[in-house]
Amino acid sequence: MLLKLVPETTKISFIKFRKIAFVFSLALLVASFAMFFTKNLNYGIDFEGGILIEIQTEQDADLSVIRRTVSGLGMGDAAVQTFGAPTEVLIRLEYQEGKSLEEVVAMVKSALAQTVPGEISYRRTETVGPKVSGELIMDGILSVTLAMVAVLIYIWFRFEWQFGLGAVIALFHDVLITIGMFSFTQLEFNLSVIAAILTIVGYSLNDTVVVYDRIRENLRKFRKMDIPALLDLSINDTLSRTIMTSLTTLLALFALFFFGGENIKTFTAAMIWGIFIGTYSSIFIASPVLLWFELRREPDTSPQEGVEVLPPEKG
């Protein structure tokens, strides 16, 4: 007997839920914006500039001692936190104009040697100057925007402009809510999170395209069916695949989250969140929004005419 998490045939009326889904998404978006403008993001040194030192102590680290020691060096307040294990500590300092990283590290080293018992190993040191961090932000924004435009164009060519627009709306939705999540949780927002967001863009799109493909196929097959029913049918047709792929991807990501080490935790967290939100959006946002365009553009168009403008299927 094979495991089937989704029944062979489903007839869920997703389109009927679209108003609830839209309201829900709108609420999430508003909350994301509110979060972003009140709490902002917890930028990593990639985007804010600064100095990061990762140390490993012999005994469990006393954070308050480390914080006091490093803050007493006259380089501004130090942010000190454990990183995975209680013996692993991240120290973050502001960018020190005119001081090189090794000077800063040397100061931290000699100060900590006095107050922290046992050997300390310096596992990682990083510094990003304000010039580069500004550029990294621009590059990040540029790459996400460019990815969306590229995708819009591709889908436009392969499908119709409505589909391209629908996919991009869903992507915006995913990206904005993911940023909102980072603002809410105050997880560190760094370069690898941008990579995660682009992966989410890719994944969410993957999901959306599969549903769109089916919509296109069904448009050709069921010329008389009205659009909402046809959208429902297409989503249901692909539902078991959507769930299956999301699950396998999540399985892999959760393994990474729990066992992959502290350094990629925020990266994986972003992706796990992205898989949920991406799966949700390709069912509840990407397809239902197609109704808007179809209805607004040619309110009286019957499905048959809608079919004729579609390009012939290849192969």
């Binding site: 596992r123 990682r124 010039k131 790459s143 078991s240 892999a252 990501l253 066992f259 992959g260 080490g261």
Partner: protein, 538 residues
């Protein structure tokens, strides 16, 4: 869809085998891989800095200082030209211009033409044969001429400075004996340096942080210690500080030295660690022919006087010339330790940087952290793989088994391609592979779900298989191309580890489509033709 021409069967099998073969060295230790017979691939994936430890440095060549130097030179050329033409004037260099104030404003036209003729060079002449002037002149009232470098001259200088800096940086790092450093230009005026597996990145930065401009200059004995303190020096002389290590030794903290250098580090052909007569560490050096002659000449004329050895505008030592130095070689003494003397020798051998380098971004990872990351990544990949395989097996039974088989081939292929490409595996790259494990099955899932549908629609097993593959195809292509777009953009804009992620993601897309569409289809088609199943358990 279920019929494969023979060549296709051979091709698919070959590609799969090749993938396994090229991935294989990664499962061996480095020595084992090297001892493989030469007909077998032995390339291993390079681990990124975050996985093997090392230093990543983004440095900026401070081009402005080169331009400033160039302006000083121009100022000097203008001085000579105007002196030869007997035009009296004053000059100063300020805000990127040489400002010439003529004593007699009526000399203006003559001065302009003299400067144009005698003090201007051309830029780009070697390429076009024409070239443009390297200076621009502006006339102001009251006999003032402003001379600035032309746009083209500035650009040429800057480019030259950057490419020279890269060369010097490469030489210095090579001298340190580190393995496989990456040194490349990044943008207009930046150098990206990646040195894997380095134990002490501080040493690296120290070596890169020095300009190492060495000069031999005469000490101006006409300036009294009081005047040095007050900063009063005749033209052509300037006051330089002693190097920090020297000051502690009771030597003067400041020296009055001639601005013009007798010789510079460019005339050196070799430098090495040596010892002076007191067995203190020092640096032995040797001049090239012309340098040796010039040095002999100057020392002959200045016996009994001190000369200053100046490094990066600081006086290392100021020995007295006891007798002419004729052999073209000498020794730099100073308050050196063995380490600092060897370092200076290294810097002198590699040559001076045309401009100081400024660290913009720096990341160093200790080797133990890298090893921990690799271990964590391996465990996560194993667990993720096992979880996905079990789930797939439970969901698709026999077909799941095939999926799992091609999934493993897929992972081999990814490793094989990454090794062959010489790609670098980073921590996010491992995440990319794990993610691919999850997503790779997507193509198979699409196909199987399609086959299920076809079966549900009452088709016989063989037709259902055939149709399933056929109809899933366009979806698979669309879905993967869109992900590929994201990966490519990530590669274009990402840096360092993120790029590694983009590479594994992109490679994973190709291999998973290949294994799902080609390999699994071949296996299933072969099975179906042989067994002719009456029902499909799917």
């Amino acid at each position: 869809m279920l019929n494969f021409p023979r060549w296709k069967v051979i091709l698919i099998t070959l590609v799969s085998l090749l993938g396994i073969l090229t991935a294989f060295p990664n499962f061996l230790t480095e020595e084992q891989a090297r001892s493989l017979p030469s007909f077998l691939p032995s390339k291993q994936i390079t681990l990124g800095l975050d996985l093997q430890g090392g230093a990543h440095l983004l440095m900026e060549v401070e081009v402005d200082s080169v331009i400033q130097d160039r302006l000083e030179d121009k100022s000097e050329e203008i001085r000579e030209a105007l002196r030869d033409a007997k035009i009296r004037h004053r000059r100063r260099v300020s805000e990127g211009k040489v400002i010439v104030t003529l004593t007699h404003p009526e000399d203006l036209d003559r001065a302009v033409s003299v400067i144009r003729k005698e003090a201007s060079g051309s830029v780009g002449a070697s390429l076009t044969g024409l070239g443009v002037s390297d200076i621009e002149l502006a006339q102001r009232p009251n006999g003032i001429i402003e001379v600035s470098l032309s746009e083209a001259a500035i650009r040429e200088r800057a480019q030259l400075a950057v490419s020279q800096s890269i060369e010097i940086v490469r030489r210095r790092i090579d001298e340190m004996g580190t393995k496989e450093p990456t040194i490349q230009q990044n943008g207009d005026d930046r150098i990206l340096i990646q040195v894997p597996g380095i134990d002490n990145p501080d040493e690296l930065k120290q070596i890169l942080g020095k300009t190492a401009k060495l000069e031999f200059r005469l000490v101006d004995l006409s300036v009294s210690p009081e005047d040095i303190e007050r900063g009063r020096v005749p033209p052509g002389t300037e006051i330089l500080e002693a190097a920090e290590s020297e000051r502690a030794q009771g030597f003067p903290a400041k020296y009055a030295v001639r601005k013009r250098a007798i010789l510079t580090g460019e005339n050196l052909v070799d430098a090495s660690l040596g010892y002076d007569e007191n067995q203190q560490p020092a640096v032995n050096f040797r001049f090239d022919n012309s340098g040796g002659k010039k040095f002999a000449d100057v020392t002959r004329k200045n016996v009994g006087k001190p000369f200053a050895i100046v490094l990066d505008n600081k006086v290392i030592s100021a020995p007295r010339i006891n007798s002419p130095i004729l052999g073209g070689s000498g020794i730099i003494t100073g308050n050196f330790t063995i380490d600092s003397a060897s370092e200076l020798a290294l810097l002198l051998r590699a040559g001076a940087l045309p401009a100081p380098l400024k660290v913009l971004e720096e990341r160093t990872v200790g080797p133990d952290l890298g090893a921990d990351s690799v271990a964590a990544g391996e465990i996560a990949a194993m667990i993720g793989l096992a979880a996905v395989m079990i789930y797939i097996l439970l969901s698709y039974g026999f077909f799941g088994l095939i999926t799992n088989l091609v999934l493993i081939v897929n992972i081999f292929l990814i490793f094989g391609i990454l090794s062959t490409l010489g790609a670098t595996l980073t921590l996010p790259g491992i995440a990319g592979i794990v993610l691919t494990i999850g997503m790779a099955v997507d193509a198979n899932v699409l196909i199987y779900e399609r086959i299920r549908e076809e079966l549900k629609n009452g088709r016989n097993p063989l037709t259902a298989l055939d149709q399933g593959y056929q109809k899933a195809m366009s979806t698979i292509v669309d879905a993967n191309i869109t992900t590929l777009i994201a990966a490519l953009i990530l590669f274009q804009f990402g840096s360092g580890p993120v790029r590694g992620f983009a590479v594994t993601l992109a490679v994973g897309i190709f291999t998973s489509v290949f294994t799902a569409v080609m390999l699994s289809r071949l296996i299933i088609a072969t099975w179906a033709r042989k067994k002719r199943p009456q029902t499909l358990k799917l």
